[in-house]
């Protein structure tokens, strides 16, 4: 049962990634310009080099064979060269991706830390005034366009109050060698004399982008949690627990929390995908050197190898995160519910 499920999920992962590579191969032909140039990113007028490229991507054969050759290149890590910077796409992705993951994961953790307790609070006070207050806040938070929120935060905290920096990841004064790609661990690993200052500076840079994503995401988490908690509090087993002589607090601790959280974990994890998209937009606004910013620049510059590579990388990240979280949740959830696509 469990193995069948895992196989099904892994199968899904492989199929999806396969479809994505087919799409990215197809895109090279759909994009304007020369397909070979779109695939490799090499701009050349030299006929010898062109022939060599043709050989490399098996352009003389049919498309199916060509695709498998391309798949081979993808798997061996040759994702072509960026038309704009002339660097290998995969290297650029590896350089920008950690910044995005860092921002998103801090925001996700923060959203859960804020959203779940507040949602519990609202759910326990279902249809009382505090619940209505929280829900009003949550509807607004849920409705704020993240790019507008980011701009407002910049106007208020950076331009008018001048408390927080408005762009970038770290002040240019600090020169941190890149090791993991994640800024906070990198600073800790570095041998700078003023580590504390650098850490403080990095944290300051992170506040506004993380805050704009967190506000939007935690509003959604609040809604999900509140609904689930209210449902659990209505349930027969909570009434039974109280009838058995537990105090409401004991009943919630022993039976409420687990029952309220288990069904919504997949829904909260599904928020990661939305969060990542929001992060991509926010990156552009704060000039955060992440994959979203990079991908959008590639789109503006019509850097086709970078677009296909970025698309492949981001989608693969999203799918792998959701699938692995889904499997993890299923492993800890005794109710083998198949409820991946939840509602809010």
């Amino acid at each position: 049962m469990m193995y069948a499920y895992i196989i099904r999920r892994v199968n899904l992962l492989v199929v999806t990634l396969f479809v994505l590579t087919v799409a990215s191969y197809g895109l090279a032909f759909l994009f304007p310009g020369d397909a070979l140039m779109n695939l490799s990113g090499v701009v050349t007028t030299d006929p010898d080099q062109y022939a060599e490229l043709k050989q490399k991507y098996a352009f003389d054969s049919n498309y199916v064979y060509g695709f498998f050759v391309y798949l081979g290149h993808i798997l061996s890590g040759d994702w072509g060269i960026s038309l704009y910077s002339g660097e290998p796409v995969l290297e650029e992705i590896a350089r920008y991706m950690p910044a995005t993951i860092e921002l998103s994961s801090y925001a996700l953790v923060l959203s859960m830390l804020i959203g779940v307790p507040v949602g519990f609070w609202a759910g326990l006070r279902f249809h009382r005034s505090i619940d209505y207050t929280i829900m009003t806040g949550s509807v607004i938070g849920f409705s704020i366009p993240v790019f507008w929120l980011a701009l407002l935060l910049i106007i208020v905290f950076s331009l008018q109050l001048g408390w927080l920096p408005m762009s970038g990841r770290l002040s240019l004064l600090f020169d941190i060698p890149q090791r993991t790609g994640f800024i906070l661990p990198d600073i800790l690993l570095s041998d700078l004399p003023n580590k504390a200052d650098a850490l403080y500076n990095a944290a300051l840079h992170m506040v506004l982008p993380a805050m704009s994503i967190t506000i939007v995401t935690s509003a959604v988490v609040v809604r999900i949690t509140r609904r689930s908690v209210a449902d659990v509090m209505e349930s027969d087993y909570m009434k039974a627990a109280i009838a058995r002589g537990f105090s409401p607090a004991q009943a919630i601790m022993r039976h409420g929390i687990r029952n309220a959280l288990l069904p919504i974990l997949p829904q909260i994890v599904m928020q990661f995908t939305v969060l990542l998209t929001n992060a991509m937009i926010v990156e552009l606004i704060f000039s955060w050197p992440g994959i979203g910013n990079w991908l959008l620049q590639a789109i503006y510059l019509r850097d086709y190898p970078a677009i296909t590579g970025g698309m492949l990388a981001v989608s693969a990240l999203v799918i792998m995160v959701t699938l692995s979280m889904d499997m993890l949740i299923r492993a800890i959830n005794p109710l083998k519910r198949r409820d991946v696509h939840g509602t809010i």
């Binding site: 607004i140 366009p145 995908t273 789109i299």
Partner: protein
Amino acid sequence: MARSNFYQESQFPSPFQQTWMEFKKSHMAMIGLVLFAIFILLLLFAPVLAPYSPDQQDTESLLLQPAWDPRGTFSYLFGTDSLGRDILSRVIYGSRTTLGISILMVLMAMLIGCAIGAFAGMSRGLRASVLNHLLDSIMSLPSLLIAIIIVAILGTGLSNCMWAITLALIPQFIHLTRDMVRTEWHKEYVTAARLDGAGKVRILFDSMLPNMTEKLVVSGTMALSTAILDISALGFLNLGAQAPTTELGAMLSEGLEMAYVAPWTITIPGAAILLMLVAVNLVGDGVRSALRYRLHQ
């Protein structure tokens, strides 16, 4: 005349009436509905309601403050932008574009998605399995990401954005309709209709569709809020509506350079998007909780 029956006559309202009665009880939902109605009015009567044309430039008053600022005037209620265009009129026309296109996209996605979903729900075997696999993978990608990718292929522009977002919205409707058709299919009333000799199409339209309408409305409002968010995000990213078209997201990105001098060029269009989304989400929440109440009674 004496009352002949001992109990008060109880009128049993139809399911839709019940939902509506429950919906009316919620103040939040009614506020949302009124707001939404206002936006619909703006959409229908923009040329009458807007004081100026959205492109009319008043070179005398560039970057004029809104009326509540001492430097502002009442002839430009929300002030003007860097080209001297009236922001109020631009917001009205922008809302018209954003909301109108979003509604259009949602309707289109709903139509296509429901058709495919109903087909998938009724088919069995390999066909259904392949579709499920594909859907599951696409569903895990957020709609804006799909839209960005599609725009990257098709190229920027409002009509391309429309196609991209419509395509990105379709999977959720397929998923919903498929699941609903699957669960309803096994219920007794459908079996009864089948035993009466009703064909698949007839069962779908006569028996199942009335039971699915409200759920479709709920997910329609959710899709509408996604669509508004996506179209304005693409507009903001300069991938969507281009210069002559007035669109709220694009207005935001135009105001970006002047954000320090004229913050109102950003705050006002953004607030319009926020209000629009609040209206849609409140209506959606209202219908959802009314529906939940009715079904759990």
